[in-house]
């Protein structure tokens, strides 16, 4: 299981990577494994829209199940990974790289520092 130390985590099995003035968000390696083969990403929040921490921004479909995608921080949605729906399995094969889901401009830095670190997240999923 790949749980990189360079990103933060949520209890909803998402990761958040701070990059300058924005955050990149995706689902964790654990989450993609639990979901199984990913077939569709349906982000219903528009680019440019403001969301609050914990808001549902869309859903991610696997063959067997569907899961909501939450925003781990408050802010403005900047970009959605359009490439995923060309090749949805990239979320399975590269959850932290090519399989990122959306980018957001955070409005509250405290929310980021309060997220789980890799040790906390490992504890959460029991690895």
């Amino acid at each position: 299981m790949n749980i990189p130390e360079s990103v933060k985590y949520t209890k909803e099995h998402e990761w958040v990577k701070s990059e300058g003035n924005l955050c990149i968000v995706g689902v964790t390696d654990y989450a993609q494994g639990e979901l199984g083969d990913i077939i569709y990403l349906d982000i219903t929040s528009d680019i440019g829209s403001e969301v609050k921490q914990g808001d549902t921004v869309g859903s991610i479909e696997a063959v067997k199940t569907v899961s909501e995608v939450f925003s781990p921080v408050s802010g403005k949605i900047l970009e959605i990974n359009a490439g995923i729906n060309e090749n949805p399995s990239i979320v399975n094969s590269e959850p932290y790289e090519g399989g990122w889901i959306f980018k957001i401009e955070p409005s509250n830095q405290d929310e980021i520092s309060n997220l789980l670190d890799s040790a906390d997240y490992k504890k959460l999923i029991g690895v």
Partner: protein, 358 residues
């Protein structure tokens, strides 16, 4: 949780195990799509030992099976298998099943989730010289499915497997073990076998290993319940508990073809005849014109009018489209009818489609 004789093997093969009907079963190994394609393109192996098997013996065994099932058991010669259903008096489906005519007795193969319920119900409907024996725990069942299943298994037996016709079986030796070798399956593959053997762990593991050694040249793969579900859905095979239960009769479930009202008396006959006349709703296939998957329980609409409910839905790995089954009201269930399905906070377009899907 109960375990099948292949539990250690599943772990060794990296399966994701889940609780299914009280059994710890593999839902997937490598991934549903890869396993699905292995079965469609070559050969895959499923542990379906959780399925229930019941032997029916006695002078009146034929009369009993004829009375509790909807299909015509008088058509069943020794060595034949028949798909059938058991119904309540009001037509509600107790379970769907396979009936094996083993000559001096019958073997009924029932769904894992219904074993206790079915046996209780059979006991309640018992009459005459009939004895039931639940052999589920002493039976392992492997489904070896796909075009290379024959070549794989042929290496392990002297029986000429190509002579076993579809929905027929033989008893004999395979990989050194006594088995019922049945040309049946739940994947829609024409070349398909199910092997009923002893649930002894050593014997079961030996059989699995022999099959995987024999199938190596064909890229044989283990396949889990996830792929079993997507495979059966492409052929619109019904799944008890999802597509039908005690609130549905065989006519609305699209199982009129296994319901032989002219065979004599059987449980649910009057209700079935009545259902044939009314046809209030029908289980039909649909293809979604959207990337979202319609799933069990979601409502189907025509405009603002609710006309049905989805019972099964999945992405079809072969069509690369989202497919499903739904009960749709009379007047809206003809092939080609456009409908909408409420998926989370939106309505997606779908079209009633004839089945099988592939």
């Amino acid at each position: 949780m109960k375990k099948t004789a292949f539990n250690n093997i599943h772990k060794k093969f990296g399966a994701k195990l889940v609780d299914f009907a009280g059994y710890e079963m593999p839902v997937q190994y490598e991934g549903i799509i890869a396993e699905h394609k292995a079965v469609r393109e070559s050969v895959g192996v499923f542990d379906v030992s959780h399925m229930g098997e019941v032997e029916v013996r006695g002078k009146d065994a034929f009369d009993f099976v004829q009375r509790i099932t909807t299909n015509d058991v008088s058509k069943l010669e020794t060595g034949d298998v028949q798909y059938s259903a058991m119904c309540l008096k009001d037509g509600g489906i107790v379970d769907d099943l396979l009936v094996y005519n083993c000559g001096d007795h019958y073997m009924l193969v029932i769904n894992a989730s219904n074993i206790d319920k079915d046996i209780k119900w059979m006991q309640e409907n018992l009459s005459g010289d009939v004895t039931l024996k639940n052999i589920s725990d002493e039976t392992s069942l492997l489904a070896v499915q796909g075009k290379n299943s024959l070549a794989t298994l042929q290496k392990l037996t002297d029986i000429n497997l190509s002579e076993i016709e579809y929905y027929k079986f033989v008893t004999g030796n395979i990989a050194g073990q006594d088995a019922i070798i049945s040309h049946t399956g739940y994947t829609g593959e024409k070349v398909c076998f199910e092997l009923y053997t002893s649930s002894d762990i050593k014997k079961s593991e030996d059989l699995w290993n022999a099959i995987f050694e024999a199938g190596k040249e064909f890229g044989i793969k283990p396949a889990g319940l996830g792929a079993r579900d997507t495979l059966r859905l492409e052929h619109a095979f019904r799944l008890y508990g999802n597509d039908m239960d005690e609130t549905n009769n065989t006519i609305e479930a699209g199982l009129g073809w296994i319901t032989k009202a002219d065979k004599g008396d059987f449980n649910g006959k009057d209700a079935v005849i009545k259902a044939k006349e009314t046809q209030e709703k029908k289980l039909v296939g649909f293809i979604v014109e959207d990337r979202s998957v319609a799933r069990h329980g979601q409502e189907v609409f025509s405009g603002d009018k609710k006309i049905g409910v989805v019972t099964s839905g999945s992405m079809s790995p072969m069509l690369n489209k989202n497919i499903g089954l739904a009960y749709i009201d009379k007047g809206f269930n003809k092939t080609g009818t456009p409908v909408e399905i409420a998926v989370r906070d939106k309505k997606i377009k779908a079209t009633i489609t004839k089945t099988p899907f592939i």
